[in-house]
């Protein structure tokens, strides 16, 4: 009796991240791992969405400082990864995001008020997951990577052709669930794409305190799956890598780990103070590697974008920002007794008793 030893997936990724567009908008000359870059028209759409996302993040951050939201984790600076990965998904595919992935939710068409319900304190998840094929944003980090693996397993067993994509970060990569998800996905050969957004910080904890490995993408080899490292500030590279991974997944070739090198320009949330743990020179360095500027330059130099076209994109981003202000400046109407409504599918007597206590309190306060 022989014991099967897997022989695939042992090659380590290249140290140099895959990049199509350099920081100044010039075509990059790095190895692109056989990936196909998106067309100019696709790239224009990605640019448009990135501009929208950045305006959205800025507007929500401003509203949070004004007290309209309880807290907000911005993904400013990570637009290429958020938009590039999410746009590559097919309509029936599922996204398993974290709390820092509002940009991905926006990209997938979730209405602003539903995205921000959690951060303004209205309800934990403001959208219907089945409507947008997005799971509730995970706050306990890395838990969602297992959900993505499980969903993909069901899709595989039922031959439904749906793939899953999960975002997680350099911090979450230290959680046991991230390891378990990569291993389960490999053993079960599920159609799952793991997008590790290496944004250099877990709140204040820097990368060097998180991992001593050369890179996260290397880990893929240990799980027997392909791993690739891309410039997470190059939307073309992210889109191409995720598209290829989804194609593999759809062809029954299992999961892929994609490490996207990027940077969290903003603080962790509005309650964080990044001046305590990083200096402005570092932030300025990453601002030179901005994911949006480079696409704009690339598109202009290839004749796919001019001033008129760009003005239209910026103007439409302002329309989005206005809709964010409108949504957040409208007071939400909440029914306090709803906290009892959804706990169980099968109603419970003692919850009805407790609800009666709250209803009496509300009536006494003249709120009923």
């Amino acid at each position: 009796m022989s014991i099967d030893v897997p022989t695939t997936g042992r090659a380590l990724p290249e140290l140099q991240p895959v990049r199509f567009i350099g920081a100044n908008g010039q075509p990059a000359d790095t190895d692109t791992a056989g990936l196909t870059p998106p067309s100019l028209s696709t790239l224009l759409g990605l640019y448009r969405q990135m501009v929208h996302v950045r305006r959205f993040e800025a507007q929500v951050t401003a509203l949070t400082k004004q007290g309209r939201l309880a807290t907000y984790p911005s993904a400013a600076g990570q637009e290429a990864t958020e938009v590039g990965a999410t746009t590559a998904l097919g309509p029936t595919d599922w996204l398993f995001p974290t709390y820092r992935d509002s940009a991905a939710l926006l990209t997938r068409g979730v209405p602003v008020a539903e995205i921000l319900a959690a951060f303004r304190g209205d309800w934990h998840c403001g959208f219907n997951p089945y409507e947008y094929h997005i799971s509730p944003a995970a706050t306990p980090l890395a838990t969602q990577t297992l959900h993505a693996t499980g969903y993909a397993m069901a899709s595989k067993l039922k031959r439904r052709g749906e793939c899953t994509l999960t975002f997680f970060g350099d911090g979450a990569s230290s959680e046991g669930d991230a390891h378990e998800a990569l291993n389960f996905a490999s053993v079960w050969q599920t159609p799952t794409v793991f997008v590790l957004q290496n944004n250099q910080y877990a709140i204040s904890t820097p990368l060097r305190a998180q991992s001593n490995a050369t890179m996260f993408a290397d880990r893929a080899a240990g799980y027997g799956i392909p791993g690739i490292r891309v410039d997470g500030n190059d939307v073309a590279a992210v889109f191409a890598a995720v598209s290829a991974a989804l194609e593999r997944a759809r062809d029954g070739e299992g999961p892929t780990l994609i490490e996207c090198l990027t940077y969290r320009i903003e603080s962790h949330t509005n309650s964080d103070d990044p001046t305590r743990y990083r200096d402005s020179a570092e932030v300025d360095h990453w601002k030179q590697l901005d994911p949006i500027d480079r696409v704009e330059k690339y598109l202009r130099s290839h004749g796919a974008l001019d001033d008129v076209g760009n003005e239209e994109i910026l103007a439409s981003a302002e329309v989005l920002a206005a809709s964010v202000r409108d949504a957040m400046n409208t007071d939400s109407e909440l029914d306090p007794t709803e906290i009892f409504a959804h706990v169980y599918a099968n109603p419970r007597t003692h919850l009805r008793e407790q609800q009666a206590i709250l209803e009496a309190e509300l009536a006494e306060a003249g709120r009923r």
Partner: protein
Amino acid sequence: MTVTALTSTEEDPAPTSVTMAKALNRALHDSLAEDENVVVYGEDVGRLGGVFRVTDGLQAEFGTERVWDSPLAESGIVGTAVGMAMAGMRPVVEMQFDAYAYPAFEQIVSQVAKMRNRTKGRVSLPITIRIPCAGDIGGVEHHSDSSEAYWCATPGLTVVTPSNPADAYSMLRESIASDDPVIFMEPKSRYWMKDQLSLPVTTAPMGRAQVVRAGNDVSLLAYGSTVRTALAAAEVGAEHGLSVEVVDLRSLSPFDDATVSASVRKTSRAAVIHEAAQFGGFGAEVAARVTERNFVHLAAPILRITGFDTPYPPPKLEEHYLPTPERVLDAIETWDWEL
């Protein structure tokens, strides 16, 4: 995908001797046969049939796409079940031993229990998490824990535990069919307990407690493994002229206040029995609920007859830790019966 003929779930004509393990096995079998969205996975549940053989023969009959061995990682097992349930499956997962469920604590408490509420009822997670629990099997360290208090303290979870083969079958079928996630606690020491019965069998709804022995002097409130302990205490008590009522709680969350209160109002005295340690244990909840609802009917304080507030002892000492019928009767004697 294998579809089993429905003849296998038809009523068997004559009662036969059935162990709890076999009843559970049959429940899994019948749920797999009835609903193609049911899948069974966990550590060693495939070819081996589980370390307690509860999944014996299921992989052979239903194939590796319905019943399979997972990697050894309990958070992974439960976390993937969350995703599968979101996709419309009804996963039934096994935690090999009680204490080995702890790595899955976060997934159970923060994800399984809360998903329905978080999504305003849009995402239900019909997951059954089977946990072989409690001691009295000579198990080495970490193989005899009673973890029910952790699960019961978590809104969103349903926590049930059968004490006999018929309930084991019926309650597991009901758990798998439930749209709420269920922690299904199987008292290991009762796996080999036999009853004469015909399968399939439908017993009382799993949310209900059951009076399994009627009496007038005292209500013993027990669940899982301690129901047999309580019944044995009742037998000895009867020899001494004590009329003991035994209530099998069956469901810990939700708790059947009505049945328990009716029993306590009849007898005026109650003791709750469990293997788990006393401090912060489930018995405290029982005592509090029963007192709040029945104080004027009580002739004595409610007793908790439980394991000691120590880690579970090594196998050669567990007989000194577990509540025995003698300890139950000794505790009852401490009441002032003249009141």
